[in-house]
Symmetry: C2
Subunit: 439 residues, 2 copies
Amino acid sequence: MARVPASPTSPAPTASAAALKKMLARREGLMGPNAPLFYQQPLVIARGKGVWLHDAAGRRYLDAYNNVPHVGHCHPAVVKAVQRQMSRLNTHTRYLDAAVLDYHERLLDKFPRRLGRVVLTCTGSEANDLALRIARQQTGHQGVIVTDWTYHGNTTAVAEISSAYNPAPTPPHVRLVRAPQADSGAGADAGAAFVADVRQAIADLRERGFGVAALLIDTIFSTDGLHAVPKGCVKQAVALVREAGGLFIADEVQPGFGRLGSCWWGFENHGVVPDLVTLGKSMGNGFPLAGVVGTRELIAGFRQEVMYFNTFGASHAACAAGSAVLDVIDNEDLLANAQAVGEQLLVAMRGLRDAHTCIGDIRGQGLFLGVEIVQDRQSHAPDADAAARIVERMKDAGVLVSKIGRHDHVLKIRPPMPFGSRHARLLVQALDRALQMPR
Amino acid sequence: MARVPASPTSPAPTASAAALKKMLARREGLMGPNAPLFYQQPLVIARGKGVWLHDAAGRRYLDAYNNVPHVGHCHPAVVKAVQRQMSRLNTHTRYLDAAVLDYHERLLDKFPRRLGRVVLTCTGSEANDLALRIARQQTGHQGVIVTDWTYHGNTTAVAEISSAYNPAPTPPHVRLVRAPQADSGAGADAGAAFVADVRQAIADLRERGFGVAALLIDTIFSTDGLHAVPKGCVKQAVALVREAGGLFIADEVQPGFGRLGSCWWGFENHGVVPDLVTLGKSMGNGFPLAGVVGTRELIAGFRQEVMYFNTFGASHAACAAGSAVLDVIDNEDLLANAQAVGEQLLVAMRGLRDAHTCIGDIRGQGLFLGVEIVQDRQSHAPDADAAARIVERMKDAGVLVSKIGRHDHVLKIRPPMPFGSRHARLLVQALDRALQMPR
């Protein structure tokens, strides 16, 4: 059984303060300042297995945060598949290989028939950048509509549409809209407000002369704060965008590959099939693998005009990793697990909400949950400081979570997919304790 | 010993024409049309080892083209390092890890002291995109000067500066210059012409209101045609760019990591230390790994303003791959090999030039050589058809090479680094035979 210390206020330091300081200075010397880190006292992690990470001192942490190790840290089936393929052959798509095509086919089988082609890349940033290239080239328009506190990646073009953590002014060809939010306490017309905002965004982009190339959204609006989304509003917004000659790009980098339990892809929640879908993170369980899935016409139209080649995209090893991930998801029934454990977590956390008035709302689906931390339930005022303290306390107690949202006050719970019932109990127990502690 | 068929005109077909046709149709169905392929009858490759690739029928090909498997296809040291690390831990840089920092340090040790920091990414495209972001953010300018037949990658921002194979018009903030070329037959003032062109480009970009953020060049001008570069002209051009407040970005994705034999980096040929250097392809021997090396000030300045995080960049497995590559380069003395075998190839190919009037020029350095194919040495007119035929014939004879240059008439020879003397002899022999064949 897992070790969650009874007294999380006196954490066992895992690296001496001096050693940690030295390592941080060395890191800054090599990488530069401000390279993002987790925790006030960052963790020195030494190994991982399943839903567990172990630090250099041998202390273990329940990982309720990392989504890249989708089927679990160091899953032997993925390690073996990559090792076998790397020992045999690892080149690119300018030669032919049946196994590489098999992976393309297996992946497309997870999508509605309308989405019949895929272009593999290495990262979600590359996927979103490519989706923007396709959308702009195929529509002839430049404007993009995105939500106003989101993150889609790090290339020049994708940073422009990623307003969260980005101090640069939004360029005129990007129009921000507020994510739909039917959260506890929100008005009844949250869906209508989103649709109206998109309608105005289309008008603005046309007036500015850019037209609308795409509405691009994370289908679970995670960085925005993992909001509850009113039924039908995304579908209505997409209809307006299509009417204006634009495309619907679904960013599935976080919600995809079954994380939401009841569906493979977040767009299924919204009752509308996208024109382009972007994938990343979880796809290769840590082996860099990502891609754009799209309609036959869009991919063909783009490829007929543009020479697109991605050296490491769809390499033999990447496809072997991706294929092993699909195997494990099926073999270990990870969607059903995400649904069952997600439900268990929702119920348990609603119980916590009854006991702790600083919980404003519990949101999310499957193994992607958000716990909103507020000053009190009357004002519903975000409490970022409390959220930060809870994240640190849970880490001290051996459980890893993070934060999202415009006000940085929503606990982000997004564990590897083999997160089971007993892990859920440990997580809830640690959260309960962290919430009980005095300020 | 290698098997190079004596009668390369009757190649052994390795897949039936019908099977190949079916596979190509399947590929197009999944990936879309025009996904780049090599050869009129593409190869179905099944395995690789060192400098050899083997097709599905068991026929082997001497690989004189692929640079991604820098230390050789499926090098056991790299396979083992990745397998070991993937079995143990493979996360990101938001946790601390000494081995990850060790790799950063080992990499920086290969650079002049002025270049003291590195930001790792997954692909060369991401590296060039990030270098542009840094240059624009740090200089406050938008204009970029690049050569007029080059390829730096596939993101939106990088495609703009990659005119080769890109039908889109060059945007006004990008100014193209002709690569310096002191090739056989070129005038004596090739260097001065390049410097004058850059001077004019700076003036143009200023006049257009963009200023100069950077001069970005592939330091061996490979896609341009692997031209001979007059001593000093790049240095002079860089001085002008710096005077205008711009940076010098050296794209080392192809020439880097010792390919040129006498140096680790192509910029060393030009006697000027860049402000930013971009790396890719060869860096992880096929494991997606790339990055930007830069001055302490530029990386710090960028990071202080911009939150940059790359999920898979600098992952434990990526750094393990990169570290193994550095080990093998040193342990197998691959720079010395590149220099010695490169010299041997130059001498042998100059011999071929005496025998074949369709060879206009032999260029390059180390294990990166170009053989220019012309209609005749008097007119020096490029002969793309002949170059294409030679590439196909050599493939039929079991040797893989490709083509570069604005007129697609320069044979591109860029083998994995363990390419030895006997491989060089086989290559020269196959080239000699391919040149002897009637049109």
